[in-house]
């Protein structure tokens, strides 16, 4: 039966594989090719320069900082996404009136196109006329420079990202929790488990495959975030909230140096692959 299965497994896999090879890998290879050139539309250059772009990247201090900030960003956003998303999912799993409406409302932030969500929060965070500061002054606390204080800028964007994408995590976790066998939960209830024990010992372990997938997928998506940072701070003030995507974007657009920014992109990808390779290997892969 094993061999029988294997044949059909492959049939199922092949269409997706073909699409991916043609439309994802081919451009990727070309992207690597470009990163080895000095493609520059302003100067009309396009010649092979070998690893010069990569060498330049290694002495780029600002690039290092952006990578570190990116990693911090991912860790904070994903953790809060999980905590708040899980909390939301548990609440939604309870029976109460208007539960369905509640679920609708929760996913709304995810549906706002990032450009406009970023703009909305940018206005909310405005130092002089933003509503957040207005609320703070009404409460007697002082105004806070959300987007203008170099120390706070990234955190403000992180808050916005969490607001916008926690619904994503919530949906997956909810689907996973709904997948649970109700009998197990009932049995545990009868045995006298309280709310938090239920969570810790039953729900989380049983849905852990889905939790792991959700967190790792979200982490990857967050790594590539661009819109919110760009719209809210442009990577500022003074480059204090530059993450890899905004930094690479500035390289590509201010100087039209596609070769260098391509190389940076490849490096970022390599970092991500390395960083997560071991984590994913440990966490998600099964023994062969």
């Amino acid at each position: 039966m094993e061999r029988f299965q294997k044949k059909y497994n492959i049939i199922f896999i092949i269409p997706a594989l073909i699409v991916i090879i043609v439309l994802l890998i081919a451009p990727m290879v070309m992207g690597i090719e470009i990163s080895l050139t000095n493609l520059d539309y302003l100067k009309n250059t396009d010649s092979f320069v070998g690893l010069k772009n990569y060498i330049r990247a290694f002495s780029d201090k600002l690039f290092y900082f952006s990578v570190i900030r990116n990693i911090t960003y991912v860790i904070i956003v994903t953790s809060f996404n999980f905590i708040i998303g899980y909390w939301m999912a548990i609440i939604c799993y309870q029976k109460f009136r208007l539960n369905k409406l509640f679920r609708f409302i929760i996913i709304l932030p995810m549906l706002l196109i990032p450009a406009s969500a970023g703009l909305l929060w940018r206005f909310l965070y405005n130092y002089d006329i933003g509503i957040v500061n207005k609320a703070l002054t009404v409460l007697g606390l002082g105004r806070v420079g959300w987007l203008i204080d170099p120390n706070l800028a990234l955190i403000s964007v992180i808050i916005t990202d969490i607001w916008a994408w926690t619904p994503w995590m919530f949906l997956i976790l909810l689907a996973g929790i709904e997948n649970l066998d109700k009998h197990i939960l009932e049995a545990a209830n009868i045995d006298g488990a309280n709310f938090f024990q239920l969570n810790k010992y039953i729900i989380i372990p049983v849905t852990s495959p889905i939790i792991k997938i959700a967190i790792s997928l979200k982490a990857i998506e967050t790594f590539r975030t661009f819109d919110y940072v760009w719209i809210m701070t442009r990577g500022g003030p003074g480059g204090a909230s530059d993450i890899t995507s905004t930094y690479i974007f500035k390289q590509a657009t201010s100087s039209l140096q596609y070769g260098y920014s391509s190389a940076l992109g490849i490096i970022v990808m390599a970092i991500m692959v390395l960083l997560t390779f071991f984590i994913v290997r440990k966490w998600i892969m099964r023994a062969a």
């Binding site: 029988f4 294997k6 059909y8 497994n9 492959i10 199922f12 896999i13 269409p15 997706a16 699409v19 991916i20 439309l23 994802l24 081919a26 990727m28 070309m30 992207g31 939301m88 609440i91 309870q94 109460f96 369905k100 679920r103 609708f104 409302i105 929760i106 709304l108 932030p109 549906l111 196109i113 450009a115 406009s116 969500a117 703009l119 929060w121 206005f123 405005n126 006329i129 933003g130 509503i131 607001w163 949906l171 997956i172 689907a175 996973g176 709904e178 997948n179 066998d181 009998h183 709310f195 495959p209 889905i210 792991k212 890899t244 992109g265 490849i266 990808m269 692959v273 892969m285 062969a288």
Partner: protein
């Protein structure tokens, strides 16, 4: 007694949570609505002094200096629906196979999907544009779909494999013993149990395609412009027409809400695992 107070604590916790979550989610939307309705053009009003619908009218009906939203919404819905359908059709079987086929090579394939997802878009922009130019697919729905589909297949595979992994394999084994074929087990047993997973995945894939901006902006010219470039066009380099942008963004959530309403039934639960045991 203990149980009673335990129950009350739990209820209080739940209601407090609901209130907090509602506030956290809705306050920015409240602000969005106020800003897009304020006649004074202010962004700091907590309650509009005077209300104008001119921005919503402009977005819905068009005006001499604003294009109306419907063409773009139609484009977006078409491209995203077709892309999502194709992605689901390709990735669900693929992830089922990867989930059930326990071997090193399947692990390797799984990891490679993961890696492919990680490539930053900027490295792929030029190659893809050149590819589409050669195929004469710039500014077409097909061209956009050809970009979205391979980008989302890894997501589909990843998400679904998680669901398939947490589906116990006993039922398929029962089915084989009863003489069912591979395909039959997949369609009759595994999929129905996992409709919630498929529903969630399709919603996600649709949303990702719907809000994708970079390639939509670069590849579309006049015929296939989708919603994100339309909305972003309200922000010129010198000035941001924010009321229009926010109004358009709010209106463009409608298709996604419709889709979610439709998929909501399935997200609740697949056919109970217990019922299959017969």
């Amino acid at each position: 007694m203990d149980n009673e107070s335990g129950l009350n604590m739990r209820k209080i916790f739940i209601w407090l949570s609901i209130i907090f979550i509602l506030a956290w989610t809705l306050l920015p939307f409240y602000s969005l609505i106020i800003i897009s309705l304020a006649k004074t053009g202010s962004i700091s009003e907590l309650w509009p002094k005077s209300v104008t619908f001119e921005y919503y009218k402009a977005v819905i009906f068009g005006s001499p200096d604003t294009r109306s939203i419907w063409v773009y919404m139609k484009n977006s819905v078409i491209v995203c629906s077709v892309s999502s359908i194709v992605v689901i059709m390709l990735s669900v079987p693929c992830s089922y196979a990867l989930s059930r086929w326990k071997s090193k090579s399947s692990n390797a394939m799984y990891m490679s999907y993961f890696i492919l997802r990680m490539l930053p878009p900027i490295s792929l922009i030029i190659p893809r544009i050149i590819l589409l130019q050669n195929l004469h697919l710039i500014d077409t729905f097909l061209g956009l779909a050809l970009i979205y589909i391979p980008t989302q297949i890894p997501v589909g595979v990843w998400l679904m494999r998680g669901f398939f992994d947490s589906t116990p394999i006993e039922f398929e084994e029962y089915a084989y013993i009863e003489g069912a074929t591979y395909f039959k087990t997949f369609f009759r047993i595994v999929l129905p149990v996992n409709t919630n997973g498929v529903a969630v995945t399709s919603v996600f894939v649709f949303i990702y395609c719907y809000i994708e901006y970079i390639f939509a902006a670069l590849i579309t010219r006049t015929n296939a412009i989708t919603l994100p470039p339309y909305i972003a066009s309200f922000a010129s380099p010198w000035e941001i027409r924010f009321q229009l942008m926010l109004a358009a963004a709010l209106i463009s959530t409608i298709p996604m809400i419709v889709l979610y309403a439709f998929a909501q039934r399935f997200i609740v639960k697949g056919i109970t695992v217990g019922a299959v045991k017969q």
